[in-house]
Amino acid sequence: MAGEVLDVVAEDIVRPENLVYRRPSTLLDVDMHYCPGCGHSTVHKIFMEVVEEMGIQHDIIGVAPVGCSVFAYNYMDIDMQQAAHGRACAVATGIKRMLPDKFVFTYQGDGDLAAIGGNETLHAANRGENFLVIFINNAIYGMTSGQMAPTTIDGMVTTTSPYGRDPKTMGYPLKFGDLIAPLPGVAYVTRQAVNTVQNVRRAKKALQRALEYQKQGLGFCLVEIVSNCPSNWKMTPVESNKYVQNVLIPFYPLGDIKVPEVKK
């Protein structure tokens, strides 16, 4: 083979029958503002794949939060509203109640969901509002440059806990999914990650299940994604994914926390 000129041109390869990977049609073909290696782009993609596969692009309304994913509507080709800091579950409640036959979701980070919007999230869950909350947990406030969040784990260094989080003065890390799971209005709580290919596939399946449950009207669904923040953790994308695996996941174990009872 050495020295032979390959008689193949790009046009021969780029054919529909050879296509094994593509951007879902529900995700817009624009540059994303997320940092290299950030989990947001992966979650956007798999969720929009689910929307495409379920054929619900025209029947889903999203609520974007405040935080890094504040511009989620620049990427997702669906109707969206933007909520003020922490208020996504309140906005989603309004949309779902007016449009009960549509799919509704919020997309929120841990600062937005668990700190600023803790009240909204807790009560939407307790009311059993029939929508999906996608909860991106990277244990810090990402957009504002890495301050401590309720989810910051014990000993973790952030800009506002420079010597590491000390629960004695800074409180304990909050597992929001575990907190709301016992509530009767809550149908489905699961914790996933997108740091490995296997986890990405599982996370996608969880998102799909949550939308199926919403279709059945089962109640509040929360899909937590343990994610990374290479920029504020001051790590390379690969290091940050290892940190997710070796440090965060042991504290935030993956898997279903609550699943709906199967109707007989």
């Binding site: 692009q57 029947d59 509507y73 669906i78 109707d79 969206m80 509203q81 449009l99």
Partner: protein, 254 residues
């Protein structure tokens, strides 16, 4: 559609009626240059009627509307004719996020615009909207302005008390007229500007330290004397008390 049934403040204050939220309600009080369209009912009938009016205006302008009442109006019992129950509106609005249209662009409802030029453009559009409200939505009520030498002005509950004070004053021979703004924003500037050169003075009465009186003064542009009488902390002024203070300020002082 928001409703603020104003209690005494500041802080936790008291549960008694007050009007100390006038500034907060009409001047913003939140973030950025914005206005709510503010309706001030003066009886229980209007408390009911303004709900429909408020929703209609909110949809017309795509702007939040606030009903500003007080703790007395909020708990008062009066005869009310309730408007007929209307079927739920099923209109399609092009801006509403009801699911991306099959043959159209996605809709995004947001107030976030990171580019300053874009944000200024949004502000200019909002200011045009407020100008349109000022041109089309001013509502107020007047009495006895034809021969008035003095004017009592107040909003909400106090305007009813002022009306009684006006009646007592008229019996005593004072030619008193009455203006009550129904929309606090947009404020009925014109009626004050028109009446100002024709009267000896305006007495503004409020359950606060003097808030709407600033708008009255801006409206009359110094063309007449404007005085203020107010009670705070949940105290409701009586008609006699208002008249007594009117006499003190305008009659005995002359």
């Amino acid at each position: 559609m928001l409703a603020n049934i104003n209690r005494g403040g500041p802080g936790l204050g008291t549960i008694q009626p007050a009007q100390g939220d006038y500034f907060q309600t009409t001047k913003g009080g939140g973030h950025g240059d914005y206005h709510l369209l503010v309706l001030a009912p003066y009886n229980v009938q209007e408390m009911a009627d303004f709900v429909k009016l408020g929703f209609d205006l909110a949809f017309k302008y795509r702007n939040p509307v606030m009903i500003l009442a007080d703790g007395a109006l909020g708990q008062m019992m009066e005869k009310v004719e309730l408007p007929p129950q209307l079927p739920r509106e099923n209109k399609e609005y092009p801006w509403a996020t009801t699911g991306k249209p099959k043959n159209g662009e996605r809709r995004i409802i947001t107030s976030l615009h990171i580019q300053p030029e874009k944000m200024e453009e949004i502000n200019l559009r909002l200011q045009r909207k407020y100008k349109q409200m000022e041109a089309e939505e001013v509502r107020y009520q007047t009495k006895n302005l034809e021969d008035a030498e003095y004017v009592f002005t107040a909003f909400g509950l106090v305007s009813r008390i002022a009306l009684k004070a006006m009646d007592i004053g008229r019996q005593k021979g004072y030619k008193i007229g009455w203006i009550r703004p129904i929309t606090l924003y947009p404020f009925p500037k014109k009626i004050y500007a028109e009446i100002a050169p024709k009267v000896k003075g305006i007495l503004d009465i409020e359950m606060n330290a003097g808030q709407m009186v600033e708008d009255v003064m801006l409206s009359v542009q110094g063309k007449t004397r404007v005085e203020f009488y107010g009670r705070m902390g949940g105290v409701v002024p009586t008609p006699d008390e208002i008249l007594e203070n009117f006499e003190k300020m305008f009659i005995k002082g002359e």
